[in-house]
Symmetry: none
Subunit: 235 residues, 2 copies
DNA sequence: AAAGGCTGGTTAAATCATGTTAATTTTTGT
DNA sequence: ACAAAAATTAACATGATTTAACCAGCCTTT
């Protein structure tokens, strides 16, 4: 993963600016939203590694955002920025919840430490970040780095980078569903109408390349995604 | 199973909010209802893995809800939230009944531990969660992963994902009834009028596919559900 | 057993998601 | 700046799922 991407939702223009710049300087990619609705919308479109939500927000407060996001995504860590006046028990709940909170006013340094700690913790168990380079399935061998798909008895096929990205994701999920939106957010960085159509085009291309081996197929799971199925083991 | 779904019934707005948010953040899907009637209605419409009922509730108290639910469903675990003043023996009864109770005030952490313990216990013996992929009945072979129904001497039939889901459920219950509402809640996530009509359409499609082998049939159990019957064993 | 209500069966139409191919735009390599 | 490759957009085709409309059968009531 190139660099971590943080979704920052803060309505105070001033604080928002400062946080944004600070995190950018520290090497994080950030997206700043001003209210809860915007924030949730951004989360659904793009892939983030961490969320930083002010609790008091116009349109939709930080906790409601978390609730909405957790319906689809159980893992992305969320840090809440809370005012001191907040009731202890509410806060306690979230503290234990694997997510974190930080009370205003806070030092940038403290925030950064927490962010780093959480990212370190979650990065360890994130299966998405796999560095597997070579995949074998059915009679195929796919070299992700070299972007080559080969099969005994046939010519090697050189893949484009988008083709490779998509095939790699499918391979990482062999015999289990790959969610459309997940794939779009990972490969295209953005789940939008046109990117989705683009992905369909690539699925068609991959199917064409795989058609010679019947034991390997990309099946569609209507309304949800795709699945690369194969009998043989994967290496 | 993607994630566990909890039905939470609590009339205290504040506590309800907190519990709801806490559980959501902990990765559970939740539905919050404010009174007993609402709660029972929700349970009949949607599928839940666990119930969390306040005992003192408007419209219908927690114990009455449990009684009503147990008429149709004997397994879904129920945890009661009781005030300290509650008589010990009342509580004892429910405790022995396989369900659990927790006395207010309680810590979120304790509640979570109990929830996890119960879900772990019940998940083990839940037949719904079966990972069987290939089913054979009559002269048919059905591959759920590949979404293919085949029969010696005939062309393979490619199923759509909804068709596969439904056929799989029927297979998991061969020669025993599959409840309409159960199937709807599992496949469509929601037992509603239109989904029920949709399911009937799919039953018709499946019957058409199975019609060549007389030894296999989907029979209707009026007012309750369907049953896939077959003489041969299932593999 | 006839009537009426309710549940399920069947088919077709409407809607929405995905598949396919080609045209267009963008990027890359030279 | 040009040609070639890659990626996106467009346009159209197909397919899956839901909704609708209507029919048939079961079950209850009388």
């Amino acid at each position: 993963m190139a660099s971590f991407k943080i979704l920052l939702v803060e309505d105070d223009l001033n604080l928002g600016q400062i946080l944004n710049e600070y995190l950018t300087v520290k090497g994080y990619e950030t997206k700043l939203c001003r209210d809860g609705d915007e924030g949730v919308k951004a989360f659904k479109r793009e892939a983030f590694d961490l969320c930083l939500f002010d609790v008091m927000l116009p349109k939709k407060d930080g906790f409601s955002m978390a609730k909405e996001i957790r319906r689809e995504d159980k893992v992305t860590p969320i840090i809440f920025l809370t005012a001191k006046s907040m009731k202890e028990d509410t806060i306690e709940g979230f503290k234990i919840g694997g997510d974190d909170y930080i009370t205003k006013p806070f030092s940038m340094e403290e925030l950064l430490l927490r962010i780093q700690a959480i990212l370190r913790r979650t990065a360890e168990k994130n299966p998405q970040i796999s560095d597997q380079k070579i995949f074998e399935f059915g009679s195929f061998k796919f070299d992700y780095d070299k972007q080559i798909l080969s099969r005994p008895g046939s010519e090697e096929v050189r893949l484009t980078s988008k083709e490779s990205e998509l095939l790699r994701l499918l391979c990482l999920h062999v015999n289990q569903p790959l969610d459309r939106s997940t794939a779009l957010k990972i490969i295209w960085r953005d789940d939008s109408y046109f990117n989705a159509r683009s992905m369909d085009v690539y699925i068609a291309k991959l199917r064409k390349m795989l058609k010679d081996d019947e034991s390997v197929q990309i099946i569609t799971i209507h309304g949800s995604g795709f699945k690369l199925i194969t009998e043989g083991q994967i290496a």
